[in-house]
């Protein structure tokens, strides 16, 4: 290989290059990128940065100086997924979300068969912070609970795609999928040619159709809104983006008012009915009357409208029980139980330390495993055994013994790597993939998804809050 790829040394499972040369679906890209000079790449990287910065495509980093905004990091080298591989992922994601939706429906308004038949212990569900008792017995329109999901996938050292975690509450990142594509199309236009990249910019239309499908009482032309916690939320950029893409109002809690068990928004011409709320705030903040009384983000009385069936919330209340990582190990069994199918996409091998036998196993191999808190997201609180100091391992072990329900342990996955533009050259970096799944009356998976990159050398943590970057993700035509 020549040019930029000269001397490139792949690490682990490389998405692009094998000892025999580039994988066939990457051949065109490697050829075209290889022909560019480092100066040319640097200029293109600067262009991407300025496009994103000028458009205000930034994210806030919590825990840093307040108001810290970073420009969204987008790598110049896209990640490619061939048609057949995508077909496999799409079927696996559809299957998983369908089964999880059935489980939640069964749990909250059905017979709770997963517990009755001994698949999941009831106490595990009841001890989950995402389990919402107020949602028990409250039906949702069309039985649609997982209307917008983000399922995190990783590829292991053998090249097998596995599900790392499920995000069925308010997964974020889809706006970056679209913005990445728009920015890369401007900065790397010559790379697209001949690839028949499947478009993603219809997402807004698909989302609106999906939300409209699950409107209460079969309304055909419902009023849909996006509910945001406000401009200080780290994902506010995305909330604006989605409202714009759908052409609907972006509301805050203070814009909504509940009268006679119906939700209205305050407009310049008085109150107007709202039928579907794509809410980007957590369950606990939705309604101060029912949940956290100190929250100013929600709408007093919203829960009464939900109970009366006059409004659809997307996603439904109580999905967080699945985002609780303690339930994650059971998902393949749930797929079997609800669909009578084997899981198309396997989990990462996971141990639940609340079982004393498994705890013992985990403690014995803690330096080889990844320990994750069950209630956190965003990559916070994770201890990666092979990279941790003895002290960190000792702390993790003590935590596990003290509160085993609060953690899971997983086999360490050597995430696949991808050539990534770092400073002045291509270097291997670990990546994952978060595809987005829309499920109204039918299931639709956005082609590709958000590929996240661990920009720190050797790091396995891809979260943007932890120094991660992103790649445009191309699903190729058949």
């Amino acid at each position: 290989m020549e040019g930029l790829f000269a001397g490139y040394e792949p690490q682990g499972y490389c998405e692009v290059i094998t000892p025999d040369g580039p994988r066939s679906h990457y051949a065109g890209l490697v050829e075209r990128l290889g022909a560019l000079s480092a100066d040319d790449m640097a200029a293109r990287a600067a262009l991407v940065e300025s496009i994103l910065r000028r458009q205000g495509i930034t994210f806030a980093v919590y825990g840093e100086k307040s108001g810290t905004e970073r420009t969204w990091p987008l790598d110049l080298v896209p990640r490619l997924i061939p048609a057949a591989e995508w077909d496999h992922l799409e079927r696996g994601l559809t299957q998983r979300v369908t089964a999880l939706n059935l489980f939640l429906e069964d749990l909250y308004v059905g017979q709770n068969t997963a517990v009755r038949e001994g698949i999941i212990p009831q106490w595990l569900i009841e001890s989950s912070p995402g389990y919402v008792r107020e949602a028990i017995g409250v039906p949702v329109p069309g039985g649609a609970r997982c209307i917008v999901s983000g399922i995190d996938l990783v590829r292991d050292g053998e090249g097998v795609h596995r599900v790392l975690e499920d995000n069925l509450r308010v997964p974020s990142g889809v706006a970056y999928v679209l913005e990445n594509r728009a920015a890369l199309a401007r900065a790397m236009s010559m790379a697209f040619e001949g690839h028949r990249v499947r478009p993603v910019n219809h997402y807004g239309a698909s989302l609106l159709r999906t939300l409209s499908e699950v409107a209460p009482n079969g309304l055909t032309d419902p009023t849909v809104v996006v509910l945001t916690p406000g401009v200080f939320n780290s994902a506010h950029f995305e909330h604006v983006f989605l409202a714009r893409q759908m052409g609907v109002e972006l509301v805050e809690g203070r814009d909504l008012v509940v009268e006679d068990n119906r939700v209205h928004m305050r407009t310049t011409r008085g109150l107007q009915r709202v039928d579907v709320i794509y809410r980007r705030i957590g369950d606990e903040s939705l309604d101060p009357v029912v949940f956290r009384p100190d929250s100013l983000l929600g709408v007093p009385g919203l829960m009464s409208a939900v109970r009366a069936g006059t409004v659809t919330l997307a996603n439904a209340i109580g999905n967080g029980v699945i985002d609780d990582k303690a339930l994650y190990p059971f998902v393949p069994q749930l797929i079997k139980h609800y669909l009578n199918e084997d899981a198309i996409l396997p989990n990462v091998t996971t141990y639940h330390p609340w079982d004393p036998e498994q705890l013992e196993h985990v403690l014995g191999r803690i330096d080889q495993l990844v320990v994750k808190p069950t209630g956190e997201s965003g990559g916070y609180g994770i201890v990666i055994g092979p990279k941790a100091t003895d002290e960190e391992l000792a702390t993790a072990a003590a935590n596990l013994k003290r509160d085993p329900r609060a953690f899971i342990a997983q086999e360490t996955i050597q995430l696949s790597t991808h050539p990534t533009w770092i400073g002045d050259r291509l270097e291997p970096r670990h990546i994952d993939l978060r595809p987005f799944v829309l499920a109204g009356k039918r299931v639709e998976v956005v082609p590709g998804g958000l590929t996240r990159v661990a920009l720190r050398k050797g790091s396995l943590i891809v979260n943007s809050s932890q120094g991660g970057g992103s790649k445009d993700t191309w699903v190729l035509g058949a």
Partner: protein, 316 residues
């Protein structure tokens, strides 16, 4: 549209107008005082500037350089150029779905540009260039809005905010100016005429209309009630009124229409006797107060309806 969004857009219009007017007034004050006859005239001009912007109390003991910095860079002065642009940008972020991408980019880029500059130094070294930059950027933003925003409620509220702020500033400027003239009496010279005209970008327009013949009533009538001048009080009120006519619907906006119609007709049909002698000061003082009151009526009318229920007043 959402009442909160309408309010945010109206305030974007106000903030940008405020930033632009501050830059223009500062520029005019700088450059007219360069040629001032004595220190008395010059410090009077700086006091007038502070008063035109309703900042006479906060800036009482400031020297000129401090006052200039206060108007441009001081974040504790909510109307300073940096603060106004920052707030316009914060509001724009909250109503981005109403703005075109180009418009948002223009506002965001202006904010980032100011944030990246050493403003105190720029103000010291090349005040003209800084004032020019601010005016140009504000004009560009409004230009982009005018070129690309559909003429729906969002645009109308943005424009309304700009016009209300502009009418208010011109009325206030005239009030401060008539007081200065009353103090100087017959000796009021070319400097005073040109200064007030330049303060609202009306100098050249005045020359074409009245040639280079200046007298108090003519200048006053021009800035108050010209139908052609974009910064005259009457022009601003007329265009604002047209926005309100189209924004109103049934009971929503009725009080605003009534209020603006009354102020507009009082300006339009003011008697010469009201605009001269002892009645002038009270006419202008009252006008300035009524324009401010108009802003409050519009806010109550469109953003705080009675039927918003129990929570409306707490949360807005």
């Amino acid at each position: 549209m959402l009442a909160r969004h309408a309010e945010d857009l109206l305030w974007i219009g106000r903030y940008l107008e405020r930033a632009e007017d501050t830059a223009r007034l500062l520029d005019v004050t700088y450059h007219t005082t360069l040629e001032a006859a004595d220190d008395e005239v010059s410090s009077g001009a700086w006091r007038d500037l502070a008063e035109t912007l309703y900042l006479e109390d906060e800036t009482k003991d400031m020297d000129r350089a401090t006052l200039a910095r206060f108007l441009v860079t001081d974040p504790t002065n909510g109307g300073s150029i940096v603060a106004a642009v920052g707030r316009a940008r914060e509001n724009a972020r909250g109503v981005r779905e109403w703005l075109t991408l180009e418009l948002w980019e223009e506002i965001n880029a202006f904010h980032l540009e100011l944030a990246g500059m050493d403003l105190a130094r720029a103000l010291e070294q090349r005040p003209y260039a800084l004032c020019e930059l601010v005016r140009r950027r504000c004009e560009t933003i409004i230009g982009v809005a005018t070129a690309a925003m559909p003429r729906t409620e969002g645009y109308q509220f943005l424009l309304l905010g700009q016009l209300l702020e502009r009418a208010g500033i011109t009325a206030r400027l005239l009030w401060v100016w008539q007081r200065r003239l009353a103090g100087i009496g017959a000796s009021a010279g070319f400097l005073e005429w040109t200064k007030v005209l330049r303060s609202v970008s009306a100098y050249e327009a005045y020359l074409r209309e009245h040639h280079a013949t200046f007298d108090g009533l003519r200048v006053l009538s021009f800035l108050l009630a010209s139908r052609e001048l974009p910064r005259s009080v009457l022009y601003c009120l007329e265009v604002a009124e047209r926005q309100l006519v189209s924004l109103s619907s049934g009971p929503y906006g009725r009080a605003s229409l009534r209020a603006i119609g009354r102020v507009r007709s009082d300006v339009e049909f003011a008697e010469p006797t009201q605009l001269s002698g002892p009645s002038l000061a009270s006419f202008l003082a009252e006008l300035e107060g009524r324009i401010q009151g108009l802003g409050r009526v519009i806010e109550d009318d469109f953003f705080r309806h009675a039927d918003f229920g129990l929570y409306a007043y707490e949360t807005f």
